[in-house]
Amino acid sequence: MDEFLQLCFNGTALGARYALVALGFVIIYRATGVINFAQGGLVALGAYLAYALGDTATLPFLLAVIGAVLLSGLIAAGTERVVLRRMVGQPVFAVLMVTIGLLFILEQLVTSIWGFRALNLGDPWGVQTVDAGGVVLATKDLWTIGITAGVLAAFFAFFRFSKLGVAMRATAFDQEAALAQGISARRVFAVSWGISGALACLAGVTLAAGPAALTPGIGAIALVAFPAMIVGGLDSPIGAVLGGLIIGLTQALTSGYQEDLFPWAGANLSQVMPYIVMVLILLIRPYGLFGTKEVRRI
């Protein structure tokens, strides 16, 4: 039983990070109809910015993270303004290719500034743990879950109550009608990218903190957050969060029980499971768990 709880905890912490990235995907998709493949690059960039502010500029960790979140948001919004604004009205496929190009640029940028060396993010959590009756809770994971929960609550409150949040939902539903109300689609696009960038940065920080080291490879989390988003339904924020948790739990439980249950499948089964789950859910619900049933081009 302890092992099960332990795996569930680890899976939730992992899933929280996926949820942050998947939510970033969903926000941009809802606003602009484009899947932003550069999200992984923003994750890595955000984590390295936190490192640069904390280690190089010697700010306290909390300030470094807040600074990095804000900077990431600004960089993402700026990218939208400079690059993607020009692509409005172009075929979705062309815009997708541009985001893939952005991914490569961001990756190169990160490695050319900070190199490939594994770095220490300088967080105060380290390898500390809290013992809760047989289950070992890593301080870093507790913070990850806490931060994610806080951010998600703030996020949903923003979309529910604020003028801009409501305007963003309106734009996602019917862009032309939103324009007719005087809602500036450009501002909505820029803010969507800004929020996604900030979420990506948080995901990067929580991923690289603690015993894990900061390497350019952490951007690969986006590849797993991708099935999380699909499972939840492309355009549902709640789906993104649940999808993230489902994928995180699936991975943790698979890696825990694989040796007992599927010894023949090999130790890397947990890496493949997210995609198996994605395909299975898509077979039953082609639009994901919470997605709009309406057929849309991707």
Partner: protein, 261 residues
């Protein structure tokens, strides 16, 4: 607007030199069959041509003497033109209150927005109890009221209405009609695009008739209501012979008749 021409996709000329004006405090009706260019005309006023790949190639749209045809939609809403789009286009996933909130997006000042909100609820008492229900679940008439209330939340000087009676029961059309009159009485000019000519001309001061991108008739609403051709084509009264026998023959004859050819 003066001599406006609009081209879609650099290809289709939809408005061919349309001139139309709405004086302050007026209700002006714009009639015309499907495809005459009424909606395009509204888009040209509100700056929504752009996203449909259309652009004005000649002429200008003036608001209080300032050209606005190159402004983007938010700037035009800020200058005091709000639109109720054809087919209502409410945000079905949002609540009624949230829909109304989007209408006030361009406005600053909580007290003024609260004032408009109170005014809108005064005009549409039905929406009071519906504030927190999802707009998509309302009846067609209520949705039309949400769409109109949303536009009024921008406190416009000029309200553009595109087919507000479309698909509504006659009783609801009556209500909508009374509300338009009331909105106008409170000082908002109205440009009313309608297929329901008797309703539109019944409350309008003046009217225009459009056909294939041109204004083919204009005049006082009462004069248009009395016009034989209008009676025949838009009101379905008068015109044809009283002793006509075969409806199909009459119809094929009527179909051919056009003012502008």
């Amino acid at each position: 607007m003066k001599g406006l021409e609009v081209v879609y996709d650099d290809l289709a000329l939809v408005l061919r030199g349309v001139s139309l004006d709405v004086a302050r405090g007026e209700i002006v009706a714009l009639l015309g069959a499907n495809g005459a260019g009424k909606t395009t005309l509204l888009r040209a006023i509100t700056g929504l041509l752009d996203i449909h790949n259309g652009k004005p190639t000649k002429g200008s749209v003036l608001l209080d003497g300032d050209p606005i045809e190159r402004l983007d939609p938010p700037a035009i809403v800020r200058r005091g033109i709000a639109q109720v789009m054809e087919g209502r286009r409410i945000f079905a996933e949002l609540t009624v209150d949230e829909n109304l909130k989007t209408g006030a997006f361009t406005r600053k000042g909580r007290t003024e927005i609260a004032e408009s909100y109170a005014q809108v609820l005064d005009l549409f008492p039905v929406l009071k109890e519906r504030g927190s229900s999802i707009a998509g679940y309302l009846s067609g008439g209520e949705q039309q009221m949400v769409a109109m209330g949303r536009a009024l939340m921008a406190a416009p000087k000029l309200l553009l209405l595109d087919e507000p009676s479309l698909g509504l029961a006659p009783k609801i059309v009556q209500q909508i009609r009374d509300i338009i009159v009331e909105v106008n009485r409170q000082g908002t000019s109205v440009l009313l695009v309608e297929q329901n000519a008797s309703m539109a001309l019944g409350i309008a001061d003046r009217g225009y008739v459009m056909e294939t991108g041109r204004i083919v008739k204009e005049g006082a609403a009462s004069a248009l209501l009395a016009d034989e051709d209008i009676k025949e084509f838009y009101l379905g009264t008068g015109g044809g012979d009283a002793d006509r026998v075969n409806f199909r023959d009459v119809k094929s004859y009527r179909r051919k008749k056009r003012w502008a050819a």
